[in-house]
Symmetry: C2
């Protein structure tokens, strides 16, 4: 009897146990706690631990089992937006840390927060780690996804069937790296931001960063903070344009290299020790037949996704977190809750044509956006649209939008001190603490150091094993 019931259950496959995949697991867990019968859910994660990007790896290139490394994060990475803008509305920072913390925590602290919610809910059992999806076949007759998995640890492949497939494999993992004439002869290190693991090797060096993205901005500032002699950012269309410190500057696009000299569009040239390409990422889904692949550039509303998640040609194929992002964890949650309701037959899917009309409406609005403030408002409107459709705990999206705009202004004002500012949680009303050390003076990004409460200099020294800065 139990067996029969079990086999009748719908099956959901989730690819990836990063913030998006974990949001999906959490969404089902919330329904289960509410007494609802949920489908059988299995999550497959290529890495040995959850957290996606937030699961730092010292490795670059490929991992232990020869799969491309997922993580693009680096040592000394601190949140580049206020934590109040990404707070889970069902698990606050206060609940996790039991005390107010600053608005811009380092990676290990945010990773700890992400894990808190799912540890509490025993979500680990749903995840098969060290397992990568090799190939997906959608069977038109059975209307099921047949997915070939590769259990990397034991070098074993197997196939499983799912009624729904949730692709939560991220889109900041596969570097986009253009060619520049002469780069093959550049004698120094050339790498993509994806392979950047910390600024230490660039001490006293002249660094060329190509790009004007968040990566370019943050890696540039990190290199400056950790002792690079100079940082030059080369932009294609527009400079980042904040108030840079003296040793950071922006120049137009690189045209070519001759040995270790880089030449730029404005006719200038300069010698560099190393090149870091912050030239973005590709949406890449090698395990999917191309007709099911989301083919898009990084933007706020990728085409072909109804409500930003349901693949319009086959809504049982669900993509999470594929948007360019202001809102992050809370947006993934809002998406996952809606996706869950659809998979539990609690959200009625409109017709394909209706979906198309809805998508087009968002695409048109997206086309009209002019500046960053518009982008924030647009993504806020998208999230409000999602929140209407599920029971994910409501949060004040507009107030978060105000914080994003504040943050944008703070960065413009001073790129080196914006992380010293504090914001107020829309979930708990708690005002963030000012951190014990100004960001530019804080060279240790460990959780222990971050959460340390000042009592005496000696205590801190004991905790972190080095002279406090």
């Amino acid at each position: 009897m139990i067996n029969k019931r079990k086999t009748k259950k719908k099956r959901v496959g989730i690819i990836g146990a990063g913030p998006s995949g974990l949001a999906q697991l959490r969404a089902f867990e919330a329904a289960k706690h509410a007494g609802l019968e949920v489908p059988e859910v299995v999550c497959f994660e290529k890495q040995s631990n959850w957290g996606g990007m937030w699961n730092y790896s010292w490795r670059t290139g490929v991992g232990k089992y020869g799969e491309p490394i997922h993580g693009s994060m680096y040592k000394y990475l601190w949140s580049n937006g206020p934590k109040e803008c990404l707070e889970f509305s069902d698990y606050s920072f206060d609940e996790h840390f039991k005390k107010p913390i600053s608005s811009y925590p380092p990676r290990p602290v945010l990773f700890d927060y992400i894990q808190g919610r799912i540890k509490k809910n025993k979500i680990r059992d749903y995840i098969r780690f060290d397992t990568t999806a090799r190939w997906v076949n959608y069977n038109d007759e059975t209307e099921k996804f047949e997915v070939v998995f590769d259990d990397l640890k034991i070098d074993k492949t197997y196939t499983e069937e799912f009624d729904y497939l949730v692709v939560a494999s991220g889109h900041f993992s596969t570097p986009n790296m253009p060619y520049f004439k002469g780069i093959e002869q550049f004698p120094g290190q050339v790498m993509h931001a994806h392979d950047f693991r910390g600024a230490d090797p660039y001490k006293d060096q002249d660094i060329l960063i190509i790009g004007s993205s968040y990566s370019a901005e943050d890696i540039g500032v990190q290199c400056h903070k950790h002792g690079a002699k100079s940082v030059t950012l080369s932009y294609r269309s527009n400079p980042i344009g904040v108030n840079w410190p003296e040793s950071i500057k922006e120049v137009p696009l690189l045209t070519h290299f001759k040995d270790d000299i880089a030449y730029f569009k404005d006719g200038t040239s300069e010698r560099f020790d190393a090149v870091i390409m912050c030239t973005g990422y590709q949406h890449k889904f090698p395990f999917l037949p191309d007709e099911f692949r989301l083919k898009t550039k990084n933007n706020l509303y990728p085409d072909h996704l109804y409500k930003g998640v349901f693949f319009n040609n086959l809504p049982k194929l669900i993509y999470l977190g594929m948007q360019d992002q202001y809102y992050t964890f809370n947006m993934f949650d809002a998406q996952a809750w809606l996706a869950r309701d659809y998979m539990m037959d609690k959200f009625e899917m409109p017709s394909r044509r209706e979906r198309r009309v809805d998508i087009d409406r968002w695409l048109e609005a997206n086309d009209k956006l002019e500046d960053s403030f518009d982008h924030v408002d647009f993504q806020g409107a998208y999230i409000k649209d999602l929140l209407k459709l599920s029971d994910y705990p409501d949060f004040n999206v507009d107030e978060v939008g105000v914080m994003f705009k504040e943050w944008l202004k703070d960065k413009d004002d001073n790129i080196l001190t914006y992380r010293d500012k504090t914001f107020k949680s829309v979930v708990t009303g708690t005002m963030a603490e000012t951190h014990h050390t100004e960001w530019m003076d804080e060279l240790d990004d460990s959780k222990e150091r971050y959460l340390y409460q000042e009592e005496s200099e000696e205590a801190l020294e004991e905790v972190v094993g080095k002279q406090p800065v």
Copy 2:
């Protein structure tokens, strides 16, 4: 009529257009030139050009289309064995270069040589570039391989059927990278040899190399040649043990790091600027179901391959070049010629049990080998076994073995000058030229510089654009 004949033709799929895949194409082309009817052959190559390893890429991590980078070669890579030991017996160095050259050419010169034979035979038309194999299904009913390919350039997947599948995708592409305690906190660059692209960034630095392989030996020497302050090689079991110059030394295995200090098994410790892991490669076939994967460590006679090529459980699945290698191009040829004959029904496959007995005989012999000289003899015997079975032009395998032993002694004597030695071709009888510049003084690895014939210092200066060394 023609169509009908065409559809009746057997189809051969070759994965990879490196030296092994190209040898397979060349083998079929030779049969075609001899007037035989050959199967329909298609070769699929992930990269945009042929040559496998020899097709140098400045990229590391993933390529233009987000696939793992194949190449492990670097700037200033020179052959680390005499070219006379890898000469094609159907296309000599004399035929290609029209004059004697030295015994240890740089990579671009050997790449040029590899291409010469296939350009002459218009082999390019058989190859679909920028195309990777995603997944192979062997259909027991049709007895065909159904292979899903991904045309990376146009982001399109498609399936084709083959009677035979030749896996020539190499096994020096997927890094094996062990973890050492504390490595995640090492502040300098940490990379696998696969991602090493040249010694320049290590000028005046103290470099730690982990491993005692060819990569360790050669990257160590390259770093020394190009100005590293010191090179330390850490070995697991045995040191390389050649006469190192003063600034290169070998130490026992690394136990752990503490910041930038490495600790070794013998209790010593030292500070380093960068770590290069020359810790070998994995045989990795992500596109194959695990029951068809060759699962082996790098060794001279991987189990499960009859005559070193036919997968014993399914001989229509053919692996080329999967052995650890003294002999290279000429061994791939001997393998490809035999594989061709089998695919053209000209080589009768013995029973599975007979094949097993043959494999076991080789495995037993392999187990008894004691030193490098034994290894050379063993691989020589294997190649002679292959040569008996096909019409690949015979060559003096024993004489090549003698050269390998000479080479091993030369390296022992002086690791910095062994590349200045010369050998005599077993194909043409030609004695190699002494190169115009001693290897340690030659910092330019271009083909132009290499093939330059000294007339005047000024002429050379003109050719290579810099002061001759």
